[in-house]
């Protein structure tokens, strides 16, 4: 049954009233403009409350008069105000959680911000500035980086693709092939060996179809620590901390399907590990490298 709501649009503002609303809107905007221009601080701490209240007035008179909400059924007011109130409350809550309640993300941003030489007021006459933040590589590059290590005679070279066949090696000029276990976060073998002092070439093939990997030879028991530091070093360093003394040799960061030959002299006899230091892979993608 139809409730007896007032008939729609029984009251229409007149042309003069609409003009009046328009004039008030313009006037408020002019006041707002001069409150902050040319000097944004010229009304000091009153700026925020003044601008907020003035804008709220503009907001309200457009809604009430131009959108006719003042004269229409109250239900429309309920619908709109419900959405507006919820939007306001949830927005404030989220903002509070970022600003008032937990400062960490802000601290990081502030600590790493790059200051910028200001131009003239209003942005005129400012030189063209290039962004300087580290961009996220959209196509991760395969980076070949020379790495320092504790052992002498270390070079990393790029070689043509080779089949991934695990094989042990001994003596001078040993060649070891190692790949990945398909798309799993594992190498194709978990045990390699070499003779101390021999020239070893590890041919690493990344057989994964989706993951990037590297092959890093590290001191015994340090694989996770090296990986942690590598994560902090970032993709630009191929996920290995530059100058990390625990790293004997490492390959670059290989894209899916890529290969690299890493040649080095096998260090002193003992147990070492090889690991992939792409963030998170070190937990399962490692093996033992025994030097006899």
């Amino acid at each position: 049954m139809s409730s007896s709501h007032q008939t729609e649009q029984s009251h229409h503002p007149t042309f003069q009233q609409y003009v009046l609303v328009a004039i008030i809107l313009f006037a408020i905007t002019i006041v707002e403009f001069f409150a902050i221009f040319p000097d944004p601080n010229q009304i000091g701490a009153a700026k925020l409350p003044v601008l907020t209240i003035l804008s709220a007035i503009k907001f309200a008179i457009v809604i009430m008069f131009y959108m006719h909400l003042k004269f229409d059924d109250r239900m429309f007011t309920v619908f709109f105000l419900a959405g507006l109130a919820l939007a306001f409350l949830v927005g404030i809550a989220v903002l509070a959680m970022f600003t008032a309640l937990d400062g960490e993300p802000r601290a990081f941003a502030s600590a790493h911000a790059v200051p910028y030489a200001k131009g003239e007021h209003g942005g005129h006459g400012v030189e063209h500035i290039k962004p300087t933040a580290v961009p996220i590589p959209t196509v991760p590059p395969a980076v070949t980086t020379p790495t320092e290590s504790a052992a002498p005679d270390v070079t990393a070279t790029t070689a043509p693709e080779q089949a991934a066949e695990p094989s042990g090696g001994s003596g001078a000029g040993a060649s070891i092939d190692i790949g990945t276990d398909g798309d799993a976060l594992k190498f194709s073998t978990e045990a390699l060996s070499a003779e101390t002092g021999s020239q070893v070439t590890v041919n690493f093939n990344n057989g994964s179809s989706v993951n990037q990997h590297n092959w890093v030879l590290v001191q015994n028991g340090t694989k996770d620590a090296v990986a942690t530091d590598g994560t902090a070093a970032g993709p630009g360093a191929a996920w290995v901390k530059p100058g990390d003394e625990r790293v004997i040799v490492s390959s670059g960061l290989l894209n899916p399907g890529g290969s690299e030959a890493v040649t080095f002299t096998a260090p002193a006899a003992g147990t070492y590990q090889f690991v992939c230091t792409f963030p998170g892979h070190n937990f399962t993608m490692f093996g033992d490298f025994t030097v006899n």
Binding site: L89, P105, T138, D183, A184, P235
Partner: protein, 613 residues
């Protein structure tokens, strides 16, 4: 204005495939939603089967990690957005106009548009399988796993764009049902006389229109981060991955109430019918639903307890989350009160409804344990949470939906579903569900994390996981019986008549299936449970209940004519999204189609020429 409606005139008939494509009849649209969603239920259920097969034993190599990630992502995303929500939508479509005494919804073409956009969005997201780039970052896709560094293929773009399209469908439908429920109730049906299911539909629709815009913004920002070089969620650019979590869960928590309130409404219809007494405490049940709706906005960060929000936020959200359990508990007491002292008939809909109550209580109890932040620190990201989710969404939402399916099947088809098969379906599902998910509480508290593709033997989780996988087999058989039951019932189920359950609400007063115009004469109601009132009065007076068809010349009833513009415009919408995945020119074409669709829709004559309606 025939020129703008194009070469093809507005359809006038209801036959064949074209009849389905152009339908604006809420009953048919309900069928479309239901069939599509049910097929998605079976597909997502098979994905679950693969998951359970892989996890049945430790160190299993049946399914690799990459595939496993895709499976659980698509299983969950499909179940939430392409199964439970559209199944609820199917009930909204079929039941709401009937239960409020209306002939259709407020915007029949918008209703059809919602369905087609849903279908195309589902297809878009599953097109990812065709190109082998399937979403694999979990159903809530946390940043920065979703950045192109860690998710380089297009899977997450399929996910984000697919969800954006599905969001259009949901919001359009929710707007439609809000206006329908507020503005198309029959004379005498005040808000406090509406069936509980209608109230729950209204609250759900309000939550939908207010929540989806928030995830829309999150998804847009994700797409921008992945494709346009922004750093919304990327710390190296000053962004914060936690912002994604906030945007997602501000939507996500109201979303879980969107998932559970309609099934609660269904259960609130079924319990009185099969207890043969009115719902206990109707105003309290309604009020609890409203309170749940309000409070659902105040609890979202309980999904983020382990992100280091600080003690103030932890405390506030612990308190609000514990408080929101209260109105749910109130509803449960009212349901029990409804059954108390009633003359209970244990037909299949009632079995599923009672199953709902017991399983939802268990899910609610584990939920309350998560509410306490310190205990959540142990539970978060373990199988304990998986147990909770499935008790409330399977034991809750799905059981409620299955109850509704058995309840309203006779009204939709004119035939009863088999009771014998129904009971087997129920018991196997009930037992299977508990066998699958109850062990997960233990294995979760013993430390088994979520989203791992295998686990070592040494953890000792193998036995309980095997039980869960065995439970899946039982569930599978149960669902198989459901499918058989549906097929058999459609073919030669017992003829239902208009009121097989002696039910209280208006939809049972018309024939099964209902005529296209629903009510020959718009009913006038005087209280709740109007059809019980009508029947009891007639009995008391010793007269049969008169059929209104006798009094009204139904050929004078004017129904909206079918239209192809909703489907046409929906094609435009999905092409806009698909173009962002392939070539921008496709998006442009989609935009043009959507614009033409809107123009055609607006200019279509209200009645097709030479229509009989």
């Amino acid at each position: 204005m025939a020129s703008i409606t194009g070469v093809i005139a507005r359809p006038t008939g209801y036959t064949g495939l074209w009849g389905w494509i152009t339908t604006v009849d809420h009953k048919r649209i309900g069928v479309l939603y239901g069939v599509t969603a049910f097929i998605m239920f079976l597909i997502a259920g098979l994905e679950a089967g693969a998951i359970r097969a892989q996890l049945a034993q430790p160190d299993s190599t049946l399914i690799g990690p990459e595939t496993f990630n895709r499976l659980f992502t698509m299983h969950a995303t499909a179940m939430v957005f392409m199964v439970i929500m559209p199944l609820s939508a199917s009930f909204f479509n079929f039941v709401v106009p009937l239960a409020i005494g209306a002939r259709d919804v407020a915007f029949p073409r918008l209703n059809a548009f919602s369905y087609w956009v849903f279908l195309f969005g589902t297809l878009l997201m599953h097109a990812s399988f065709l190109v082998g780039q399937v979403p694999d970052a979990g159903w809530f896709s946390y940043a920065n796993l979703t950045s192109t560094t860690y998710s380089p293929n297009d899977g997450l773009d399929f996910w984000a764009l697919g969800l954006l399209v599905l969001g259009v469908s949901s919001v359009a439908a929710a707007l439609n049902f809000m206006v329908t429920i507020i503005n198309m109730r029959c004379p005498g049906m005040t808000m406090m006389r509406m069936p509980v299911f209608i109230w729950m539909t209204l609250i759900t629709s309000i939550l939908l229109v207010l929540a989806f815009p928030v995830i829309t913004v999150g998804l847009v920002e994700l797409v921008l981060d992945r494709n346009f070089g922004t750093h919304f969620f990327d710390t190296s650019g000053g962004g914060d991955p936690i912002l994604w979590q906030h945007l997602f869960w501000v939507f996500g928590h109201p979303e879980v109430y969107i998932l559970i309130l309609p099934p609660m409404g269904v259960v609130s219809e079924i319990l009185p019918t099969f207890s043969r007494k009115p719902l206990f405490g109707y105003p309290v049940v309604i009020f609890s639903g409203i309170v749940i709706g309000f409070m659902s906005w105040a609890v979202w960060s309980h999904h983020m307890f382990t992100t280091g929000m600080g003690p103030t936020a932890l405390t506030v959200f612990t308190i609000t989350t514990m408080l929101i359990a209260v109105p749910t508990g109130v509803k449960i007491f009212n349901w029990i009160g409804t059954m108390w002292g009633g003359s209970i008939e244990f037909k299949t809909p009632m079995l599923f409804a009672i199953g709902f109550i017991s399983l939802f209580i268990i899910g609610g109890l584990s939920g309350v344990s998560h509410a306490v932040a310190p205990s959540d620190f142990q539970q978060q990201d373990t199988y304990y949470i998986v147990a909770h989710i499935h008790y409330v969404l399977f034991g809750g939402s799905i059981f409620g939906i299955l109850a509704g399916m058995y309840y309203w099947f006779p009204k939709l088809t004119g035939r009863m579903m088999g009771e014998g098969l129904g009971k087997w379906n129920f018991w196997l599902t009930f037992i299977g569900m508990n066998l699958t998910f109850f062990p997960m509480h233990f294995v979760g508290l013993n430390g088994m994390p979520r989203r791992i593709y295998t686990y070592g033997e040494e953890f000792g989780w193998g036995l309980l996981n095997s039980l869960s996988s065995l439970g899946y087999v039982v569930l599978f058989i149960g669902m198989l019986l459901l499918v058989i039951n549906i097929i058999q019932s459609l073919r030669n189920g017992r003829v239902a008549g208009h009121d097989p359950w002696d039910a209280p609400t208006l939809e049972w007063s018309i024939s099964s299936p209902p005529p296209v115009y629903n009510f020959a004469e718009i009913p006038r109601v005087e209280g709740r449970d109007p059809y019980w009132t009508t029947k009891r009065r007639a009995e008391a007076a010793g007269q049969p209940v008169a059929g209104p068809e006798a009094r009204v010349d139904v050929s004078t009833i004017h129904m909206p004519s079918p239209s192809y513009w909703p489907a046409f415009a929906a094609v435009g919408v999905v092409l806009i999204a698909a173009g962002l995945l392939t070539h921008y020119s496709l998006s442009f074409v989609g935009g043009v189609i959507a614009l033409l669709g809107t123009i055609g829709w607006s200019n279509e004559p209200a009645t097709a020429p030479q229509s009989h309606h």
